[in-house]
């Protein structure tokens, strides 16, 4: 009896039940030289397990700060971040981060980079790295150093490194902003494919409106100075999606709606100043 119960718990654990995020009145104030800068102001946000949300906003709206709070790199000045009901008190392998500029470790080969998480936790599986690299379309790069790969390939390797660690939540900080338009589109479709397979929670930061809509279940629009949630827009475009949906009427409509929000915000900010 008890054994069976235990098994059920384990099963729910391994499916997409884990990875819900709750931001409860999160405020982050930077205080350099006594000068208060409110980066994130009183943000309430609930992200369900397995949900793909994008956080959209102009630079300086505190979206990276918000992500750093979820990752556990930063502690909110007030309010709390909860993951599956537990308060976030520091970084964890359950919340993996893909960085804006590539943060593969340059002194490790691609394979060593991908194996880093499992190796540090003593759960290294031989051959898993090659499997993931092949899945990401960059097989054969095992023994190369990050600087020997193009930006897009480095980004694939970084995602492979994250997947090797099997996190519940993927936090992505403008991961494709440095890529050329074509590579960016390929990476977006690839990310959706990966997500549709494992249904991990994804929090994806971007300032690109069509990227935000194309990827997300929900687009959270933030405004700058102070960083607040301006709108939370459901994207009701059916999945699985490919880039063809970006030409549909519904997509254009959503795009207009979001752009209108951002522009009115910008007008307000300029009028107020």
């Amino acid at each position: 009896m008890t054994g069976q119960q235990h098994e059920t718990t384990e099963e729910t654990g391994s499916t997409a039940q884990q990875g819900s995020v709750l931001l409860d009145e999160v405020t982050k104030v930077y205080d350099p030289d006594g000068e208060h800068v409110v980066a994130v102001d009183d943000v309430d946000l609930r992200i369900d397990a397995g949900e793909f949300i994008t956080v959209l906003g102009p630079s300086g709206c505190g979206k990276s700060t918000l992500m750093n709070c979820i990752a556990g790199f930063l502690e909110p000045t007030s309010g709390h971040v909860y993951v599956d009901g537990d308060r976030v008190e520091g970084p964890s392998e359950r919340r993996g981060v893909v960085f804006q500029a590539n943060r593969l470790l340059p002194w490790k080969t691609i394979e060593e980079n991908v194996n880093l998480g499992p190796k540090m936790r003593g759960e290294l599986v031989e051959g898993r790295a090659s499997e993931l690299l092949a899945e990401m379309g960059i097989e054969g790069t095992e023994d190369q150093y990050p600087t020997e790969l193009s930006g897009g390939m480095q980004q694939r390797a970084e995602i492979a490194r994250l997947l090797a660690n099997d996190p519940d939540i993927m936090l992505m900080d403008e991961p494709f902003s440095a890529l050329d338009a074509l590579t960016k589109e390929i990476m977006q479709e690839m990310l959706l494919e990966i997500w549709e397979k494992d249904n991990r929670t994804v929090v994806f930061i971007t300032h690109d409106v069509s990227e935000a809509i194309f990827l997300a279940d929900r687009v959270v629009v933030m405004s700058a100075a102070p960083g607040e949630v301006k709108a939370d827009i459901e994207v009701d475009i059916p999945r699985p999606r490919n880039l063809d949906v970006t030409t549909t009427d519904r997509f254009k409509e959503l795009e207009r709606e979001v752009l209108e929000l951002i522009h009115s915000e910008a007008r307000e900010a300029m009028g107020g100043a």
Partner: protein, 259 residues
């Protein structure tokens, strides 16, 4: 791959430049000596003669061995001490405030100034000599280690943390490798300064190339002085090159040190 062929072409060019540079130095020296512009400076030829006649002597061999010992033992000790200390200072602001100001006060003291203190305080002459070469190597290694640790890209640390790394992992996987190029620079400079301090230290020695130079000076054998100086220069250069070479082999990933 293109980097490799580029490296070869560059290294041929570099070797040519090294030869030109040294020939230029010898030429200027020859001009100064032949014209009698500098009183009693031996020219290149007498110096080379002195070097050749010195080479097979037992005194020369034992001097070289003594000098290598006077440099390498303190150098390794300085490395073993300065690197961990530099990492600790680079990581902890409190530790830095506690330790660094007093170290900074000791740093500008010239090697010769240490000699009387070393003789007074340390039990043997050998210990005094080694202390002075140690001081030459210690500070460049320490300062470059601190600088390297302080300048580690914070995202490397975050990357290791969010992959489940402990504090120890962060140090081993992110901070130390990221600081290594800077530490290596310190090790190369430190080796050079250990040799610089050596000749001063060996003023009080009973063996070594520095002593050879001082003996030649007191006996008025000017060609031998120059020969000794050249040998010190050559050994110092070879030692630094060795450290640089080991470093480059360990850091083949680093574009900056590859050339």
């Amino acid at each position: 791959m293109s980097a490799v062929s580029g490296f070869n072409r560059l290294s041929v060019l570099e070797h040519a430049n090294v030869v030109v540079s040294i020939l230029g130095l010898v030429f200027v020296w020859w001009l100064l000596a032949v014209n009698g512009a500098i009183n009693s400076l031996p020219g290149p030829l007498p110096a080379v003669n002195a070097m050749v006649s010195m080479l097979p002597t037992g005194e020369f061999h034992s001097s070289v061995i003594a000098s290598l010992r006077h440099v390498f033992v303190p150098y390794l000790a300085a490395t073993a001490l300065a690197v961990p200390l530099g990492v600790a200072i680079g990581l902890s602001l409190t530790f830095r405030d506690l330790v660094f100001p007093s170290l900074e006060m000791l740093r500008p003291v010239p090697p010769i100034a240490w000699i009387p203190i070393a003789i007074l305080v340390l039990p043997t002459t050998l210990a005094s000599i080694m202390f002075i070469t140690f001081m030459g190597a210690f500070f460049p290694i320490l300062l470059n280690t601190i600088r390297g640790v302080e300048r580690v890209e914070p995202d490397y640390v975050k990357a290791v943390q969010c992959l489940g790394g402990t504090r120890r992992d962060v140090l081993r996987q992110a901070i130390l490798p990221a600081a290594l190029p800077s530490i290596h620079t310190g090790l190369v400079i430190g080796m050079g300064l250990a040799w610089v301090n050596l000749v001063a230290a060996e003023m009080i020695a009973d063996a070594g190339l520095g002593r050879l130079i001082w003996v030649a000076y007191t006996t008025g054998n000017y060609a031998n002085i120059v020969a000794g100086v050249i040998f010190v220069g050559l050994l110092g250069y070879a030692s630094s090159t060795l450290v640089r070479w080991i470093g480059q082999r360990r850091m083949s990933w680093n574009v900056e040190t590859a050339s």
